[in-house]
Symmetry: C2
DNA sequence: AGTTATATTGTAATCGGTTACATTATTTTT
DNA sequence: AAAAATAATGTAACCGATTACAATATAACT
């Protein structure tokens, strides 16, 4: 591999001039630049990213820390991030935090030493101090689905509240009168927001009761269990709005096991819009988040901040969309 | 951030000695080492990974290049790789190649400049020359699901042939007599092997005919279409072995649309063992690859090679297991 | 006792870039 | 025409580690 000094020698100039040509940071005589270009060409020279990184404290890498790539919500996010990053010549380091603050801290520690350009946290358990520390060191961060309290960096999320309202309204339109909700762990702001949206609309129904809500923890099994509980208390419920698709799948399973037909007897709606929803039987109505776009946007914002060096603590809330499918279909009467 | 010189100064020794203490590369007087340790402690010193990388040409990063993290097969692989890497203090860079040789080359080019320690390719389209080039530069590689021809580095795959045989035998045991196969793109060795396994067992059946095979391309939609074709030629088929789970899901959908009951009229078996198989209705029998373990093993082998510097061109073939589920259930008569 | 081997430590080059500062030549300003 | 500004380039320090080589002291060997 040729180095910048090889190029300088061949072109008969100093390394500084070569650097200037490469980075266009300073004016260089066009003729000289030509020589340099020719030398670069001849030697097939490519600047060494690590040396650059050492000098500039930026490795051209962004870190994406998410809870678990196995959770079907995250691959699309990762892909969104990676596509944008790759287009700009940056690479993406992936970390699974399992929603453990400790693991997040550990990633931060390791990755800071590697001079990553910035972090995207799609994780709910980052310690506030970690964020603060990164800020103080001027390392750009973008947060996904984090509260307002951390107003010290860009935050992206989708409009969970409105999404829930869409879901419940849709269930009502399809004829549901007694709509249950399986909510996610309340330490997640997304889960809280979705519950609020549900309460806002479902609370108006004559049949509404707080006991129509049951906790799950965002996985399939908990969705199934929640429905079992709900059916004990309300055997006559006719709609279920699950806080995410995974729990909705669990709900579908529970109903199927009990011989309760979907959508005829009970209609089910999920949240997230992951691919799974297209392969259940019946296919699952869901509130789709623009996950891929969220990832891309997060990367875009991060890259902007990296390039410009200016932090904009914007809070971006993306719109979600209802995707009506068979699981909430209303038979024409 | 403290540097090694700060430590040296505080401990009253040279940077070389500090380096020796940190890396245990050379003998250091225990007393001196103590001083150094104390200084390190006091300054909260942590070696800068980039400077180290520049000096040693290794950044403590491994690159995982896969076709598409959105394909449900790969998250588990990625997780397997990442878990092992993280345990050893390495980080993982993720790249989506979309099975485009060009994108792979592009990743290689970029990542070599970043001194990644090694590559794991789970992609089917790497140019032979790229592999050769990396080898020549002594950069460790591990390949997943690649042919024997590339015997110049470690290769991991699962026993696709045996897996197919397991699948077809299972279908026969469950009472199938006319078993169709949806095979994947023949440029993928996995697809070829699975087809061979199918032919080996299904070929013995009285009802066998080459026209029982139909091509798909490993996605849901192609599985559905393949079944439509197959049903035209063989309305009386009673078993379908799909070359992967995604196509099996498509098959399920096609059958469901036509009102053909699974498993009563037709039994279906997939291949891969991805999570989707548990949420279809009926749940899908499949041949499970130990995907997470494959990832872990790939990382392990790569790390061994990185550490030791010696390449072992082993070919490891992992066992697959049949997971019988409802989609091939035989009604007791 | 003289010599060789071993342990311990330091000096300075090296990895491969970026960039502050200095220098010279040329152009613009007054 | 002298002074000031601008363009073009080079020198060398710096980023923060590793490591070859040299130097010194001490232990072991003949």
């Amino acid at each position: 591999m040729a180095t910048i000094r090889d190029v300088a020698r061949l072109a008969g100039v100093s390394v500084a001039t070569v650097s200037r040509v490469i980075n266009k940071t300073d004016s260089v005589n066009p003729e000289t630049a030509g020589q340099v270009m020719k030398a670069i060409e001849q030697l097939q020279y490519e600047p060494n990213a690590v040396a650059r990184g050492l000098a500039g404290k930026k490795m051209g890498i962004i870190a994406l820390i998410l809870p678990d790539i196995l959770n079907p919500f995250f691959p699309a996010l990762a892909r969104g991030v990676e596509d944008v990053a790759h287009k700009k010549g940056l690479t993406v380091i992936l970390g699974n935090s399992d929603d453990l603050g400790l693991k997040e801290s550990s990633y931060i520690k390791v990755l800071k030493k590697k001079y990553v350009d910035g972090f995207i946290f799609a994780s709910n358990t980052i310690h506030e101090e970690d964020v603060e520390a990164l800020r103080k060191e001027q390392i750009p961060i973008v947060l996904l689905d984090r509260g307002l309290n951390t107003a010290s960096c860009a935050v992206i999320r989708s409009n969970n509240r409105e999404g829930s309202k869409l879901a419940v309204k849709h269930l009502i339109e399809q004829g549901c009168q007694k709509i249950a909700h399986i909510y996610g762990p309340q330490e997640f702001i997304t889960a809280r927001e979705r519950m609020l949206g549900y309460e806002e609309i479902a609370g108006r129904l004559r049949e509404y009761s707080p006991s129509l809500m049951e906790q799950g923890n965002f996985d399939i099994e908990s969705g199934r269990k929640a429905v079992e509980q709900l059916l004990v208390r309300h055997p006559d419920l006719d709609g279920i709005f699950a806080g995410n698709d995974l729990m909705a799948v669990g709900a579908l399973k529970a109903l199927h096991e009990r011989g309760i037909r979907v959508p005829e007897q009970v209609k089910v709606c999920g949240f997230d819009g992951i691919g799974l929803t297209e392969i259940t039987e019946p296919e699952l109505t869901t509130i789709a988040q623009p996950v891929y776009e969220m990832g891309g946007l997060a990367a875009q914002i991060l890259l902007d901040e990296i390039e410009s060096g200016i932090r904009e603590n914007k809070l971006i809330e993306l719109d979600v969309t209802l995707i009506p499918r068979k699981s909430t279909h209303k038979e024409e009467s």
